[in-house]
Amino acid sequence: MEKKAHNIDINEKAISIKGLYKSFGDLHVLKGIDLDVHKGENVVVLGKSGTGKSVLIKILVGLLKPDSGVVEVLGKEVDKLSQKELDALRLHIGFAFQSSALYDSMDVRQNLEFPLTMNFKNLSKGEVKDSVEEVLEAVGLIDKLNQMPSDLSGGQRKRIGIARTLILKPQIMLYDEPTSGLDPITCLEINELINEVQQKYNTSSIIITHDLTCAKETGDRVAMLLDGIFVKTGSFEDVFADKDERIQSFYNYNFIK
């Protein structure tokens, strides 16, 4: 599968993070993070479990507050916004949860309709139906329309989770470990899906993963998060050309084992 050359606009920043610190009590998780995501770019964040990858993107959508630092998403400083402004911004951000986080009391259709109908009250039934079908088509699960989330496989749930974020036509996608816990073939499908989404909706994305295949397939740029800072950022090849022992062991574990 070849990587698509999409149009990255390096003059426009979708996400800009400067000097971000975050700790929980005594636990210092993020210790001075700097990262820019340009418009149309897929940035992969790699890192060990528990290094604060999820915390990082939760800060981007305002689920967690940074201790210090500047976090700008689409030109707005996330932690300075009023609730109303934050909600307006959130409509442009798709957040695919690590756990999929589908509403388990609703079937697939209701899950997909929910963000749409709650935010845009005056949509017609037909418009909602079209949107639902469009995103289901995009993730290739049109036949699961009336199933309950509990009846779906893990991979299907991830796809529906992604579909649910796509329905609001986000400009930014944040994927939290989209391939974790999936078999290699499903992983490849999800990678493809991420690239398709990027092309079709022209999103800028952060993809969190510790799966190097996923990183290689989807990332225009890779950022390596170790001990609370990005020790290395660059193309996949650049990052893993680094002699840093921790980076090398990350690579070896994934490919040589």
Partner: protein, 263 residues
Amino acid sequence: MTKKIRPYIFSRGIDETFKGVYDAFAFIALFFKQVFKPPFHFRQVIDQCYEVGIKSLPLITLTGFVTGLVFTKQSRPSLEVFGATSWLPSLISIALVRALGPLVTALICAGKVGSSIGAELGSMKVTEQIDAMEVSAINPFKYLAVSRIIATTLMVCVLSFYCSFVGLLGAFVNVHANDTTSFSNFFQSGFSDINFIDIFSSVTKSLVFGFTIGIVGCYKGFNATQGTRGVGKAANQAVVTSMFLIFVEEIVIVQISNWIRFF
């Protein structure tokens, strides 16, 4: 939610208790801030009312009926000593409307509804469904909590009158079997001693009880942590805490309405 670590003011336990009380009041304040602000989720409120009603109706019917029946049966010998069994209807109706109806209903709802709210919201919390709502610009407090709190407040009130009524039916069965009092006579003498203050304090009580059950269930659910264990804990604490509060409120409201009665 996160907080800066700082040395404890008193001790860990005391500090956390105060923090818990503060958080709970903040939660209540948030409810009143949100409840009158659009958007209103009427559909959700109706659904929740239905849930609350359906969940507890069979048990309340049974408990109410048995309470009325047994209470009458047990009071009868004492009144017979004074030849005052004709007072039974009004005694029972005062007992049911003033005290037993609201209290029994509230305790049953705390058990059935409170625990299920705690568990449901708790599991939504630990599986990040609440976060998912928030990031799609939907206010989860409003959508999930406010609608449930309104529903429990209203429904506990309705159910407690229903419970009193069913209790009176139970009482009637006993009274009719022993004294062959007619249905209309029974209710006439039953209601003759019920005044406005009784009804008012009973309504107030059950509104407060219902509100308590909703608030506590939602609060525990929204603050659930630690995965599946946290869900069970949230459900359990929702019941224990709301029952405790219901007893405290019962005592306070009875005291206040007795003062009012003297004026």
